[in-house]
Symmetry: D2
Subunit: 392 residues, 4 copies
């Protein structure tokens, strides 16, 4: 008979819904887990969030105080999907309660907060961190190709996350643009993903030198809730009236980093949250002595792969996802049938829940989050020191 | 309070699972439907299918006899996802029972069977037919662009579905390759999709001239269940031994059609189930007097769009899906975040269930299935007569 | 010491200049021909053409009467690059004079004219016909791959030439749009190229069924010389005033053809001179039992190639031109360095002059032009008869 | 009547032939220059080079001593296309002789040599430097778009030149791999192009931080002449026998640079001569506050352009070259007809000769070569100092 797991959710927004749906879809794609996830309780400070948790997402109840969810004895696993400023405190409480933790990234608003959470990890603690993109089937396949030596010795890397969510200068000055609300800007939000992919694919970074830039120095004060997506596109927000007050953007819109990996490879890492052109372009390009590959989230289900051969017909191949690539076969029965971003969260959930059930180690967890935070911290230090900084 | 709908499922395979998950995910993406789909009963002739229905898919019970599901008074809506040879009989029974019908395509093994079902439609009957691709957000957006005149007067169309599921000559001779099991081959299975998209985008076909071909004339008898996907790719099935008996393929692997639309536009329609190169390439290209566009399922979340202008900088644009394109905004909050094939079934389910609740008309339903069957029938006639045939 | 060849040119326009430059560049790329092409005389009815021939192109003299060039005893080879209506008479005169003939396509305004020229071919006559695209290095490489069986048994073909040169409805009604001036429209001008490529790659066509369309029924009378390129683009011609008289377009803007090859393969052939989107998109796609390939002139220096394998990493490869592909190595020393359209005429010239010097057979010559004209004629007949027509 | 210019050539290799053909083709594409280039004399130390100069390239005579060419009073303009180690001395001699100079890049084996040549420039001296890629029509068009503000304020740049000419570890250790023969490696050979394009498009670099790497530390001693192209591809050079002696590679195979422009924009610059995947991928990507664009030499005749708009249909446009883009209209009459790399040298020659005839200023000349050399020097210094270095 199926084992039961009680789920608690802290923060009911886009990510909270994604976590919840992922728990609910586990059996569809990972029936051998033989688990029944019971949606015990959700917490949100807002009335609408609490109502949504019960009516749409299916939680048995919703609480204004997140501690009530963490402390509920029926809750075994807790998803932390609240705004970044709350991650540390919530994560510490979940660990203190001896429960399994699935926390969205960034775990903290900087290295200190992330390290504090990591320091609280007891033996046997199970933690998963929402670096969504590691589980993309073709990203896992790319990693397998690199590990198997298909590209030879790796010489160069380029990773990027160019997003347009803050490209509209009339988009509101929400918590993402303040030190107190978010810590760093594009570095914490976007670069942490790039670093995590780089590390997963090529191993740890050794040292970095970085520049950061603010493209839009002031933005209008937010009227209500901050919008995540304020793009220079359709339904572009109107320029506010002449007298609309604006405030200072306190963290970087973009960063460019030159890096050296522990393996000796060198590379570039680039992030921008105010890009105009790319919409959600997270990707990487890897060069080796016998081949190259590249991938971009905007074409999540395909990989460009070059393998040297002695014919005149070598060329970058457009490899479409198919069973055999990562967990693709869990979702689609044949090649070239699109998976979704949301499916990635199902894979994440399956690995998290699998680790909870078996005690097996899990990545990316807090160790990986700490590693990414260290790299991001070195980038921030370098932008200030104008020198190479070691990734401790 | 939410309205309750009792769901019955006839046939527990890939499509059966997709319908079921779609019912379950309705509230996530269409909360305003305010419906609670109760999985009452599923039918399958196989023990494993019945077990899966209960244990994985969540039906309250499973039956070996599908009539028991249709007749269950707790069942309000019935999904028909059994092999093609059973569609007609099942659909007729569902309609006779006065229940709402969601049937996979093709509705029949040819025009006669489809017409028989259509003839049984009473007033107020709600039917949905699984032409999955109409609901792709960028397909709907393409249709909106055409309808708004963004391309000017439409002069040319090309539609295709090139699939490699039968590309392996050692793949087993399952029911898809027999007249009795499937009726036509690529015409019924793939061309019906192409015709449906063509019609949705440009209006009805007037006449056609067609050729059909069998690429692999004989295939090994199937040992067990037929595999849907037998590609010339990884894990390619081994050539069977020398003495393995083979049987004749009775229907076409591919078809090529020259067509005239009622609007006056001309075009090509092409299908192949034994393609080697394309994996799941369903798409279309539309040319007009002031622009062109094209789309392919292998890149479901992007559209190529050309709009003439008087600068020297016109060019095909790669438009990525975003909120505002069809129902994309139901699934993703920002641009360029991949939706899945499975999401398309959620959209289908939402429209089906919406029509059940409101009585509003619904497309594609049996009228559209009949229209597609007529076009496919004209193609079959033309391949035999070697003449232009009217799409009656 | 180099052998001398005296060159005569009939018609000084874009193509006349291209032929001339090609003769002049022979030694750069084919030094072993060891030939010295002397530009003896050019003919043009226009004063400006004659002046250009001498001052820019380098002919020793220019004549208003083309017969004076053909009859000049110093002229050994003659390029016919005058408007289509003159091709037949000029070609016959060149052959009657016992001189080598390089004639632009179409050789005649229809099958009868082309056949008349072909009938005049004596033993040992050397003829080249300007099917420019056969000599593209990657087209030749594609042919070599097909011939070597790299794609297995060929099952399907698609060829197209979608050009926007007549896409502007205010473009002038020049000779191209009249039966007397051009014969057929897009069929003679564009389809002859498609047919020639199809035949070169897959062998002869057996039968066809065709539709033709006129997209722009009337156009303004031409004020002066007809413009070849009148696109819906930058510097788009202004709509003429209200009272500008227009005349009827007498031949087709587009054609769509369903074809059966002698080999048994089936396919589509499509041409449009009023396309809006493609600019100069001539290309083909070939499907076989173990692979596929495609090519487009808009990306002349790359080939998309799919070869089945048993890994999960097969995919369309973007093969860039390199030494070893056709005559590419005559022009560039390493891979991926762009060749030009004009270079194709140098290759053509080299093969023509080589055949003149050696007497070796040459293709495409009049035999191939006749073959293409027969196929185009069958298409015209089919558009009228609405029936399959044999390519005699 | 046409003005006459006497041409001298120093070094008869690939580049020497390109310069020569460019002089010969001037009248074809720039008739208004009204110039007659007379190929007076070429110099080469090799017998075969001298023979080729006369027999294939058409020089009146060839000399073993290059000074004889420079000093020939009939020579007005001199092309320097010998190996890099000779550039400085030759260029100084040409300038000292008061003649116009067209020198291939790099002008020197480092900043000192380039500066020495620049210092010798007298008033009125005409110099052109072979930064071939500035004159690509779509590169010029990209520059015009940036200058016109089509992309808004420029925030980011990425430039690259990834070439596989030294990707084969068994390729011979020719002069390119020694400090004495070439100075730096990929920096001088490839990065100088990237810097020149970056500067032409965005203005000068302010400071850089760089890493350099040697991918293949030792290579076999060259048996005869060094091959420029030794790729990991078709006809891949065989591994030499076990006992084949090898020597050390003295300069970098690749470099990665983080840069700050004087304008405030930041960016990446990357070069690799041993890439496996890209063949001749030189390109750039520019991001601004209202749009982005990118271009790559592997698709020389197309530009990717994104311009923000308020519809949901913005997307990267594939703009194909056409008349109106740079000097494209000098070569092709309509859009999307491929130009060649060699055509770029014709444009260069036209601008050089035009400046000689008119005395008008010319770029890129020695000033631009010096600017590029300063940037490359800063990169070399940074790779050694591990610090940001100013581009003096």
């Amino acid at each position: 008979m199926s084992r039961r797991l009680g789920v608690g959710l802290l923060g009911v927004g886009w990510m909270g819904a994604l976590h919840t749906r992922a728990y609910r879809r586990l059996t569809d794609h990972y029936p051998e887990l033989d688990v029944r996830c019971e949606l015990v309780a959700a917490a949100d400070v807002g009335e609408s969030g609490r109502r949504r948790a019960v009516e749409e997402l299916g939680y048995a109840r919703a609480e204004p105080d997140w501690r009530a969810v963490v402390d509920d004895p029926d809750v075994d696993v807790v998803s932390v999907t609240a705004p970044n400023a709350l991650h540390r405190e919530m994560a510490l409480a979940v660990l203190a309660a001896g429960k399994a933790l699935w926390v969205e990234k960034p775990v903290g608003r900087g290295l200190a907060e992330t390290a504090a959470v990591a320091a609280a990890l007891g033996p046997g603690a199970v933690t998963a961190v929402g670096f969504n993109y590691r589980t993309v089937p073709l990203v896992e396949h790319a990693g397998a190709l690199v590990a198997a030596g298909a590209l030879g010795r790796i010489t160069g890397f380029r990773g990027w996350f160019l997003n347009d969510y803050a490209s509209n200068p009339w988009g509101p000055l929400n918590w993402r643009f303040s030190r107190d609300g978010a810590g760093s800007g594009a570095l914490g939000d976007l670069m942490s993903h790039v670093v995590d992919l780089a590390t997963a694919l090529l191993g740890p970074l050794r040292e970095v030198v970085a520049v950061t830039d603010v493209a839009i120095a002031r933005r209008p004060y937010a009227a209500g809730e901050g919008e995540h997506f304020a793009t220079l596109g359709p339904g572009a927000l109107e320029p506010p009236g002449d007298d609309v007050p604006t405030g200072e953007v306190e963290n970087e819109d973009s960063a460019r980093v030159l890096a050296r990996f522990a393996s000796g490879a060198s590379g570039f890492l680039e992030v921008d949250r105010a890009a105009v052109g790319p919409h959600c372009s997270l990707g990487f390009e890897i060069h080796g002595s016998t081949g190259s590959l590249s991938w971009d989230f905007e074409r999540m289900n395909e990989l460009q792969l070059y393998l040297a051969d002695t014919t005149g017909d070598a060329g970058y191949r457009r490899v479409l996802a198919r069973p055999g690539h990562g967990d693709y076969g869990r979702f689609q029965p044949g090649p070239a049938i699109s998976m979704s971003y949301d499916d990635l969260k199902v894979i994440e959930a399956a690995r998290f829940v699998g680790a909870v059930l078996t005690g097996d180690p899990l990545a990316p967890g807090l160790a990986e989050a700490l590693s990414a935070a260290r790299a991001v911290d070195a980038m921030e230090r370098s932008a200030a020191s104008r020198a190479w900084e070691a990734v401790a």
